[in-house]
Structure formats: structure tokens, C-alpha cells
Amino acid sequence: MEIPYVVHPRRDTGLYNAKVGIWLFLASEVMLFGALFSSYILLRVGAEAGEWPTHLLNVPIGTVNTLVLISSSVTVVLGWAALKVGNFAKYRACQTITVLCACAFVGIKSYEYNDKFHHYQVITKDGKVFDGHLVSRDKEAVVLHGHQIDASKGKALGVREASRHGDHGKEIEIKADDIKKIDNYGPAHNTYMSIYFTLTGLHGLHVVAGALVIAYILWPGAGMYKTDPERYINRVEVSGLFWHFVDLVWIFLFPVLYLL
């Protein structure tokens, strides 16, 4: 006996095997990201007053990235639809754009990450808090381009107030001997940054994985279109479903991390 319904749908379920598989897999992905979103909520409601940073991320850049991903979801559908009616060239063009969008997204995200790794907070021994971009750092002193913060109501609130009035800050030099603690806005900075990096990092991995699969089907795996076209179209559909999910996750991530 051979395994049935590899290509054609089963009558009573109306689905072929891989489609059942991808839906189940996506259900588990919902639980994975759901758990991380729940963690975000618990950490946020548990944070001390004034310590949960908001508006720390660059909204215009985030918006651009959102548009990039949404466009890629459109091209995925257009590509699949074109393939369904036998227009392989259009399919290839659309999916190429999808893959390029994925690369653009990852590129922009890396720029944002990089920015956070150069953003520092310094606490001096006499309790002052400085916040800004690292200009230079050596044995003697640290130079930041930023603000001094009023941390009396919480550090995060202080950062927000300092940068509210369109004030871009100035260069501040802090002597190395005066520094009690210095760290960048990496994952260990506070729980907001931790969950930010975890959520976007995991999402980023999904983007990369999805793009690799789509690219594989598009180029090295395209031979199947000649030998077994129906199965090939199914593959495109299944990878497209995954891509929509990846897109959907970002639609949640963007408001939660950038806007709220």
C-alpha cells in the first residue's frame, strides 16, 4: 500500500495531508507565541511603577517594516494564484519579491538591533543616571550623546520625559571612576528589553526559515513543477500559509512592542 492523499484531498476532510500538517503545526506555533505574549503581559503588569519603558523603539522604522511584511504577504498570494492558473513566470516574479521583502525586513531589524546595542545607560556612584548613544569609551571615561535623567519616578519614565520635548541631547562625559554601572540596551538591560529581543528574535528566525523554504521551492526545488505540478502547487500553498502566520505574528508584535 502507498500513502494516500499526498497530493489530492481526502473526500471527507477536503484536505491533503500536508495541509493538515501545516495547520496543526501553526496551532502549536500559536501556543508558542501565545506563551510569550502572556509572559509579556505578566512581566508588564508586574513591573514597578515607572520602570516599564514605552516608546523606546523607533515607530517610523517599525511602520516601514510592517509595510514590508504586509506587501510580502500580498505577493505570496498573487504568486500562488498565478501558479494555480499556470503562469509560472508571474509566480516566480511575485515570490522573488517575497524573498526580497524578507531580506529587507531582516536588514531593517538588524539595524534596529544594532542601534539598541549602542544605546547605553550609565549610573554613577552618586546616583545620577545618564542615557544616550555611545560616542566613545576608553579606560578614562565614557562619552554619551544623550541626557541626564531624573530617575526619581522610575528610570524608564525619566528617559521618556527627557526625550519628550524634541530635545536631542548633548555630549556628556562621565569619568570611569565615577561609574557604578554601565550597560547597553541589550536583552539583559531590563525585562522589557528581554522580552523584546526574545519575541522579535524568535519571529526573526521564523522569517528567515520561511524565506529559505520559499526560496528553496522557488529555485532549486522548481524541477518538481515539471514532474509533479500538483504537488508543487501544494508546496507553494503550504509555505504560503506559514508565511501568512509569520506576518500575522508581526501584526501583533508591532503594536505591542512599538506603540503600547
Binding site: E2, V20, G21, A27, A35, A188, S194, I195, T198, L202
Partner: protein, 600 residues
Amino acid sequence: MHTTTADTHHAGAHEAHHDEGGFLKKYVFSSDHKVIGIQYGLTALVFLFFGFCLIMAMRWQIAYPNTPIPLVGGLLNGLFGDLATKGIMSPDLYNMFGAMHGTIMVFLAIVPLAFGAFGNLIVPLQIGAPDMAFPRINMVSYQCYAAGGVVMLVSFLIPGGAAQAGWTSYSPLASTIPGDGQTFWLVGMVLLITSSLLGAVNFIATIIQLRAPGMTWMRMPFFVWAQFVTGFLLLLAFPPLEAAGLMQLADKVLHTSFFLPTGLAVGGNLANISGGGSPLLWQHLFWFLGHPEVYVLILPAMGIVSEIVANNTRKPLWGYKSLVYSSLGIGFISFIVWAHHMYLTGMGTKISTFFQTTTMIISIPSVIILTCLFISLWGGSIRFNTPMLFALAFLPMFGIGGLTGLPLGFNYSDIHLHDTYYVIAHFHYVVAPGTIFGLLAGVYYWYPKVTGRFMSETLGKIHFWLSLICMNLIFMPMFLQGMAGMLRRMSDGGAMYSVAKVGAIGGLSAAIIKLNEFVSHAAWMLALAQLPFIINFFWSISNGRKVTSDNPWDATTLEWQTPTPPPHGNFTKTPEVVRGPYDYSLPGAPKDFVPQNQTT
């Protein structure tokens, strides 16, 4: 379809000869569900044995604290150096063994055996499918499992040794113990979770898509239903633990503070972390998996027991539909009871009350299942073969385990019982003489299908009776110890809290502590009681009594309507299912059983 067994054996041997260099492809990198099932089964049995060895060493330390362990003390000293000086088990080593005992038993032994082995072997056969829906993913699933197992084993030998924070790995403890044991544990868990995720997708898709013509949902054997629900539990409950695992890994490696609160002190000094995290978050995420996981442990065993009970009472199962709906009910409700493991964390009474209520509700379907199985026995002419003995013993043992769960489910009584040996006794009754007996029943029952030979009944019965007695001698006294207030996870068996040390009020009496010795001896006896099984298992492969037909137990389900052992692709022609799974003693039928694909 009905090739004689001798023939297929011969053909099998022939093929192996011709298939040059095919050994790897046939037995190691096979995508055939039966081979993968056997791989899962053998690996899981080895881990079961290994996990048992860990606890046998610990039981010495509990019974005779701070004395050298006989027989293996020298070995432990050699392997672990300072952690077992002169063969005496240090508290660190005790914690390590304890954490790994739990982890190995749950994630590397029972689940792979119940789901990976029996599910893989039997489910496609019982629904009349040629294989799993995604055979290659199935193979990768086993490989991830094996890799996870290797990571766990290797962690014993790294500097600092394996994880020490219990199978539940509560933070901040788990994140602050020095050494890389916990990191290995987390990496191992991610691999194991990936494995069961792939398995779950595969099982569910197989059951939805590959049922043979006529195999409607309500004609599926109950075992298939049990695996179906188990698949969903694994699919949906494990990802949150994966998320939690990633966060704990970040705490460990990137120095984040997901689970580490502000002001955390380690070794008397303020930890150099940002703080702001929540230890309770870990517990919620862990038990969100943890509770469904206990049903992952029990449901497949219930499925196996149901098959064997129907077969050996020669009667249809009583209340097949109730069994199906109850297992579905368990599946749903098991996602909303998790915090009954956390009553003592100060979640607040409102939340506790909610979880107490759901816990009581989920007991109902469990009771229904047990009752159906008991009633199924009524009026049957029972065949007392070894599989049936294990299946019968499962019923009261699971009953004891389940009933003793109720006092734990009420938060008022749990305040007293939490974290004591009572809890240990509760869950071991469900998992050891419960699930493990169910799994052993399955081994004895399906062995002839895989090998073409029976296991020895005499050795089987010795194995059964000794195991039954030892299991009860081990776990029954633990209820007493727990109610007397003996806490779990203490490397001196409670000596620190004896009457001699803390006085008559609140101290553990000498009699209660003395029970430790009794229990330990029973545990070592249980090990001896497994010898007949191990001998039987290997000896019968080539010396057992040969089966004389493809259906030696006169069973109705489809796995017996194949050649023995089933060839690649399972069925010689697609079976047409025409009836329910348990048509035993059908009035007017020529024999006392009618297979699912036969029209009387």
C-alpha cells in the same frame, strides 16, 4: 493477505541478505513506522532502566544517610569525584540524580514508550493505514529524541554535573546554581519538545487523513482515540514550556531576568542582574505543560488497557462512547487545571478556588473511564494471561492514584500535603503501577505481532506478581510518611527533622523514618523482579512459542489482520472496515470474534 508466518519470516531473512549495506537504511535511518516504533521502544526501555538505577542509588542515601553505597559506591566516586567521596552520595549528587530521575522517567522513558513506541507501532495498523502521513518527519522525530537523550546523558559528565533543580526546574534556583547542567537540561528539553511536536503533528494528521475506507470516527479502537487526544495535548501544551525554556536559557546565558525578581540575593550577595522578573511566571508556564503532561502519561496506558480488556473478556467494551467523550473531556479540561500545583505560592484564594473547581471537574471523566473498564469485566469469561493480569492490575492501581489526587486538588488539604511524600506516592501510583503496568501489558500483548513469537507466560506471571507486590510495598508507606509531614527532595531521608533533632512537636517519629529502609529494600526487590522480564524479552525473540496464526489472541482490531510481522506498507490490500472495533461474542457469528474488516 493471510501469508503464513513462517513464509514471511523466510522472506524477511531473504531480503536482508540481498540488501547490501542496507542495514543502516533499514534499521537506523528507516522511515517505516514500525521500525521507528521499535527504535523508540528500545531506547525508552533503556532510559526507563537507567532512570530506575538513579533512584536505586538515591534510595540508599535516603535509607542509610551518609554511608558508602555498596556495589556502586566506587563507581560513583570514580565518575563524580568529590560529589561521591568514598562512595557516599553528597547532597549535590542527590539533587542531580533526583532531577534527572524525574526528567528521564517522564520525558525520555514513559512518554516515548507510550506515545512514540506504541503509538507508532500500533496506530497506523489499527486504522488500516500503510504508514504515518509524514514518514520522514517521523524519522526526524526519533532522531531529535535520541539527540535530546544524548545531551541529557552527557550533562552528567560535564564539570559541575547535570541539572540539580528538580524535573520542574523552578527558577530562581535553576538559574542560579553554578555550572552548565541546567543549560544542558534546557537544550536537551528543546530537542525533546521538538521531537514530540513533530510526532504530535504526524499522529494527528495520520488519524485524520489515513483511516481506511469505512473506518469512521466511532469505529476507531479506543487506543487510537487515546493517542489522538494525547497528540493534541503534546501539540498545544509543550510550546509554552518551550517558550519558558528559551527564557530560562536566556536568563542563564544572556543574563536576562525573566524569572529573577528584583533584589535577588545569591549566596548572601545581591545578584548582578536587572531584576524585575517573576518566578511565578516560570511555574505557570511549566505547569501549563505539566498538567496536560500527566494525561499524556496516562491516556495511552488507558488505551492499551482497554484493548486488552476487551480482547480478554471476549466482550465489547462497556460504554465505548463514554470512554471516547471522557477522553476528549479530559483533553480540554486538562488545559485549565494547572495551577493546582501552585496552591502554596500565594496566588490568592480566588484563583485557587477556580483551579480547585476545575480540578474536581476533571476527576469526573477519569472516574467514568475507570468505571467503564470495571463494568466491562462484569460477566466476561476472562482469560488470565500475562497482558490481562497487568491490565487488570492497572485498574485498582490507577484508582488509588486518582483518588489520592482529590485531597491534593482541594487547596485546604493540599496546604498540609504539598511537597511531601504523599504527593510522591500519589503520582507514582498513577505512573508506576498505573502507566508502567499498562505499558508492560502492551509489550506482552503486541510482542507476538512484532516478533511472531509469544513471551513466556511463566516468566511473565512471575514478573507480574513480584512487580505488583513490590510496587505497593514501595509506594503505600509513602502515603503515611507524607501525611506525617515528611518532605520530598531531602537528601537525608528526613533525619534533619526527626524527633531527636527538632523535638516531639513537628518532628518525624523514628517509626516513620524507619519506613525509609523498608521502602528502599522493596525498591531493590522491584529491580530483581524485572529480571524475569528482561530475560523473557530477549529469550523469546528466538525461543518463544511460535504463533500459529496472524491473529493469535483472536482479536478484532486491524493490526491483527496483517501478515506477521507486517511488511513495509502494512496491508497487502487496503482493508475495508465494516464494523465497530469490539465485535466479540456477536450472537450468530461463527466464532466469538469478528474482525473489523469481515462481514461475519
